[in-house]
């Protein structure tokens, strides 16, 4: 690794960069923004930084510095002591644009007040052979998968700054301390700012190994730091993908075949072709696009383009047929085995009491606040893309392949996402936008989906049918548990991955790895794919399977005549495997006052789950009135993420997860009729309203020693805890979602 860079090279690089980008600006200058990622400002900074310092941890290509005009990967320090930290993932509201740079700043001993965060880009990552590593914001893994290299990057820079100061003062480095962007030599009472040291530090060889701080000495990690994007969001200055504006930009509205995987048979655009503002009507085979001078004209015209679709053989598919398909999966002879402890079938046959139940969760569209949007501009063999993407590298790959240009010719400009929820990681929409840009070559085109398109062409959370059989012995101990899942596979159909032993890990998540001490456990899986495309809906398998698992555990507790919390704790030995399940369950039930007297008619429910490297638990208190209105009195929900990097952001993620989760639990359902999704907009795919939102009490109980995710885990325990409480209140077991299908509504608080 060769991370040092002398200022002369920096300067040359910065100039080269400025020239290259100035040329790019001449052809592709977005309308200047008031804030956010402003390229001109970035250039200025790059220029001034030539007098400053660039420290990168991973600069494997530095031997070719002349080809590397970009100063560096993670850290730049300006003479005025401003520290620029790069962020290499997407920001869609999850807050890691703040918490990931906190990792670097912590070890750098940076004064956070003078830290500025800017996006790294996918094209820069490609050019530097992935100096920034993985850029995807998926799987709640930004922090847990990058914390180590980010902290090392910060620590490396810190050590170089300390050595630079020590050399200047001719004192041992061990006598110097770094704190708040300043190196101090206490014995001689001298100190210098990072801005003053940066040039010299950048000339030093990067240390090969660095000592990371002991968590007990952290000054930034663990503090509630306001998100860096808050000011721009509050002032309406944040630039989302949907806000992209380019000179001479055209707008496209699209419609794919209402029956999935159908094709355009013929189209007649004569009614709209000569309308004001309509530029072109495109038959793209898989979809139709109207390109116009503004989006509304494009969208309105699209309604009047007469399209005959070839719906193939799937035009008669219904939800009932899909359910029959899943039920047949329950009876099929060959099943993939995900877990097989002991001899479950035999143990069940010998059980004193056997409890059986089927649970069902429906297809769900994501309904991100910002529908799919991507702007693409193909000029010759150069392509620029502004896509609301959770994975800029995938965007780059898809864009290059679709346009037929080399990957090195593609620029993916980072934009904030108006929500992602897992829908914006697959790149179907980017592909469409680039296809349109190719057809309109030379002009920038912004393609935006309508809400209807978004709900009717989702990559849905798979519907899933789950069958549980539990065997209790005479003392009420669970001896055997058999869980069978009949559901589509996301990995096999969307990603076309080979499934190890035929098991899709997401379809059986929280079953194959349940923490309970049950000697005989069998989990098997019938892969039942349909023509309805499935994808990653925030929390994925953990958004639905824990509903079945933790509700069924309550059914077993009821059959055993035991308190649901005591019943669970009895099955969670205090060993390494289960200790965190146990500790989060104890922390949350204690915060909720489990066991204390409740007012008449109010009932509690509990659930405990694990996923994305974290442990979660939830207690809900509800009452249900004679009109079947559910009043949620309390939601107490907690997490053990190992380390709580930014506690206020965890609270925000949990509150957001409860909004998202309750929406799905009460109303979320996509049904299929004549091969198409019946719902189309918020009138029939209802979102939760502000006055329906209960107060959320978040318990953050980090036990340290590991790094868990935060963006997704909260949804896992919410549905079962809530439904357990509702079932207790009604004296009737609810085994399918959404609750509206049971006549239940959420009472306005």
């Amino acid at each position: 690794m060769n991370a040092n860079l002398n200022s002369e090279v920096s300067k040359a690089d910065a100039n080269a960069d400025a020239n290259a980008d100035a040329n790019a600006d001449a052809i592709a200058d977005p309308i200047p923004k008031k804030g956010g990622i402003d390229r001109r400002h970035f250039l200025k900074v790059s220029g001034t930084a030539s007098a400053g310092m660039s420290l990168g941890f991973f600069l494997p290509e530095r031997a070719h510095a002349a080809d590397t005009p970009q100063l560096n990967v993670w850290i730049e320090i300006e003479p005025n002591n401003t520290i620029l930290i790069r962020y290499a993932r997407a920001e869609m509201g999850q807050g890691s644009m703040t918490s990931a740079p906190m990792m670097i700043a912590e070890e750098l001993e940076a004064d956070w007040k003078k830290v500025r965060v800017e996006y790294a880009t996918a094209h820069e990552n490609l050019r530097t052979k992935r100096a920034y590593g993985d850029m995807a914001s998926v799987g709640s893994r930004t922090i847990r998968h990058s914390q180590e290299y980010l902290r090392k990057a910060g620590a490396t820079a810190r050590e170089m700054l300390i050595v630079a100061a020590a050399q200047k003062w001719n004192v041992p480095a061990s006598e110097c301390k770094a704190s708040l962007s300043r190196v101090t030599h206490a014995p001689s009472k001298r100190s210098l700012t990072y801005g003053q040291l940066a040039v010299d530090a950048a000339k030093l060889e990067a240390p090969k190994t660095v000592q990371l701080k002991d968590p007990k000495n952290w000054t930034l990690i663990g503090k509630s730091i306001p998100r860096v994007d808050i000011p721009e969001i509050v002032l309406g200055q944040r630039s989302y993908g949907i806000d992209t504006q380019l000179p001479g930009m055209l707008h496209a509205a699209v419609a794919a075949c209402p029956v999935f995987n159908g094709k355009v048979k013929s189209l007649d655009a004569s009614k709209v072709e000569n309308r004001r503002g309509i530029v072109k009507v495109l038959n793209m085979g898989e979809f139709v696009a109207v390109v116009a001078d503004n989006w509304w004209r494009a969208k309105e015209a699209l309604r009047e383009v007469s399209v005959e679709w070839d719906v193939g053989e799937h035009g008669t598919l219904t939800s009932a047929a899909i359910m029959a398909h899943f039920k047949a999966g329950m009876e099929q002879s060959e099943l993939a085995v995900a877990r097989n402890d002991g001899n479950t079938v035999e143990a069940l046959s010998k059980s004193a009491k056997v409890v059986e139940a089927d649970y069902f969760t429906p297809y769900l569209a994501h309904a991100t606040m910002e529908p799919m949007v991507c702007t693409a501009w193909l000029q010759g063999d150069k392509l620029e893309v502004w896509s609301s993407t959770q994975n800029p590298e995938a965007t780059l790959a898809v864009s290059a392949a679709t346009a037929g240009v080399p990957q090195a010719n593609v620029k993916v400009h980072p934009v904030q996402l108006g929500g992602g929820l897992g829908r914006k990681s697959p790149q179907d929409f980017t592909r469409q936008a680039v296809m349109i840009a190719k057809a309109m070559s030379g002009k920038p085109v912004k393609m935006l989906w309508s809400r209807e398109e978004e709900i009717q062409h989702g990559l849905y959370r798979p519907a899933s049918l789950m069958r549980f059989k539990g065997g209790l012995n005479a003392n009420g101990k669970v001896e055997a548990l058999h869980i069978r899942v009949s559901a589509p596979s996301i990995l096999a159909t969307l990603l076309k991955l080979p499934l190890p032993r035929g098991v899709d890990g997401q379809a059986v998540a929280s079953f194959n790895d349940h923490p309970y001490d049950i000697p005989n456990t069998l989990v098997d899986y019938a892969q039942r794919n349909t023509n309805v495309p499935v994808g990653f809906w925030r929390t994925v398998g953990h958004s639905q399977n824990p509903f079945g698992r933790e509700c069924f555990i309550d059914e077993l507790a009821l059959a055993a005549g035991k308190d649901p919390v005591a019943f669970r704790l009895d099955m969670l030995p205090n060993n390494e495997k289960s200790k965190r399940d146990r500790s989060i369950l104890e922390a949350v039930t204690k915060a909720a006052g489990w066991g204390s007297q409740l007012p008449n008619g109010v009932f509690r429910g509990v659930a405990e789950t694990e996923g994305y490297g974290s442990w979660t638990a939830c207690v809900c208190e509800v009452s249900v009135n004679a009109k079947n209105e559910v009043k949620i009195h309390r939601v107490v929900i907690g997490i053990d993420p190992g380390y709580a990097v930014n506690p206020d952001n965890i609270v925000a993620q949990f509150q957001g997860s409860v909004v998202h989760g309750l929406t799905a639990i009460f109303w979320g359902e996509n049904t299929i009729k004549e091969g198409r999704v019946e719902q189309s907009n918020f009138h029939d795919y209802r979102m939760m309203r502000l006055n329906e939102m209960p107060k959320v009490e978040v318990v953050i109980a980090p036990t340290g020693g590991f790094w868990g995710g935060v963006g997704e885990p909260a949804q896992a325990p919410l549905a079962p805890a809530l439904v357990n409480a509702i079932s207790a209140a009604m004296g009737k077991r609810i085994r399918s979602l959404p609750l509206k299908n049971h006549g239940l509504t959420l009472k306005v608080s």
Partner: protein, 168 residues
Amino acid sequence: MNSQHEVMKLESRVRRTALRSLLLAGFAMPWLFGRVVHAQRMNSGSLLSLNDMVQPIVKGAILLNKDLQIEAPLLADNGSLVPIQIQVQSPMSAQDHVTHIYLLSQRNPVTQMAVFQLGPWNGRAEVSTRVRLAGTQEVVALARLSNGEFRYKQMEIIVTESACVDAS
């Protein structure tokens, strides 16, 4: 030349390459070595060494890292359809030509992804195809020459992971 010795050297090269890609990725891909608790479920299988990949075919014959070119995208948005093109420098004469081109995967359940039979009638030793890749890995193109020697080239292809899979 001692071909076994050559392969040993190559293998250490692969190790170095793997190590380097680990560094490049900034430790973002600990699953590359498949030994971390948070194993990524997106990737199936474990990574083979170069030796494991090629020796069932090469069987100790002379193997050199030269004369091949692989053209493929560095990034693939998913592994289900990755275009790949192989060129071998060869006169393709009756005396001196490429007889086979093998495409080998470091991670797929089936290592030998494709075999192409060629002869002087082809004129050029060039093939293009599409392969499925079960995750980020080194892909090896291996050419068998009419004199019984082998040539190879390797390339890392990154399969981006657009998936909220729970990696715990």
